[in-house]
């Protein structure tokens, strides 16, 4: 199956800092999306981004399908951004598979 590498695995930021999270894929993927799991365990879809760039407030995401990677940008981070960020994809089937995640802690 397709391998996905999320980086970095862990990240600590001071409030106000910017960060870039990355997913690299071993082959072409479909239906790329990014999720945030908050400290209470809730999983929220941030972006559905099979290609191109999208922005939502302080967050933006870019997927370069031909280069097999996707990026999630967090600007002016806040403590509420803490949690785990996952990328997810399917490999032209129906299964939706997840990377291992980036654990982010934003300190005051």
């Amino acid at each position: 199956g397709i391998q996905v590498e999320q980086s970095p695995p862990d990240l600590i930021l001071q409030e106000g800092a910017n960060s870039t999270l990355r997913c690299n894929f071993s082959d072409s993927v479909n239906n790329l999306q990014w999720f945030h799991q908050n400290p209470w365990g809730q999983l929220i879809n941030l972006f559905y981004i099979p290609s191109g760039t999208k922005q939502n407030g302080r967050l933006s995401a870019t997927t370069v399908a031909t280069e097999r990677y996707s990026l999630l940008y967090i600007s002016s981070s806040q403590t509420t951004d803490s949690g785990v960020y996952f990328c997810a994809f399917d490999d032209s089937g129906y299964a939706l598979n997840f990377g291992k995640g980036t654990s982010l802690l934003v300190t005051p």
């Binding site: 999306q33 365990g41 809730q42 929220i44 559905y48 997810a88 129906y94 299964a95 939706l96 995640g101």
Partner: protein
């Protein structure tokens, strides 16, 4: 939660007993999924469904079965629960080429 409800939210059960978790969605999504989440393993796919009565195995399907008799409900059954199946279980749903939404999760403890 985008109309996805998991029940129960918490359950403690004894080793060897059967357990069924329910996922109910109100948005008529075609695809539904069951995942388990354990420390250090992220979200691992157990089973998924691509239509009524159409299901397939994910990477960690041993010891689990599923059923989808109608669009809105996707059931996950542990035939004979073991301590290794203690986990947090998440259900998700999506349409073709659309974003996925998750339920709130079910914390299952097998003692």
């Amino acid at each position: 939660d985008a109309g996805i409800t998991q029940s129960p939210r918490h359950k403690v059960t004894e080793t060897g007993t059967p357990v069924t978790l329910r996922c109910h969605q109100t948005e008529n999504h075609r695809y539904m999924y069951w995942y388990r989440q354990d420390p250090g393993h992220g979200l691992r796919l157990i089973h998924y469904s691509y239509g009524v009565k159409d299901t397939d195995k994910g990477e960690v399907s041993d010891g689990y079965s599923v059923s989808r008799s109608k669009t809105e409900d996707f059931l996950l059954t542990l035939e004979s629960a073991t301590s290794s199946q203690t986990s947090v279980y998440f259900c998700a749903a999506r349409g073709p080429d659309t974003e996925a939404f998750f339920g709130q999760g079910t914390r299952l403890t097998v003692v």
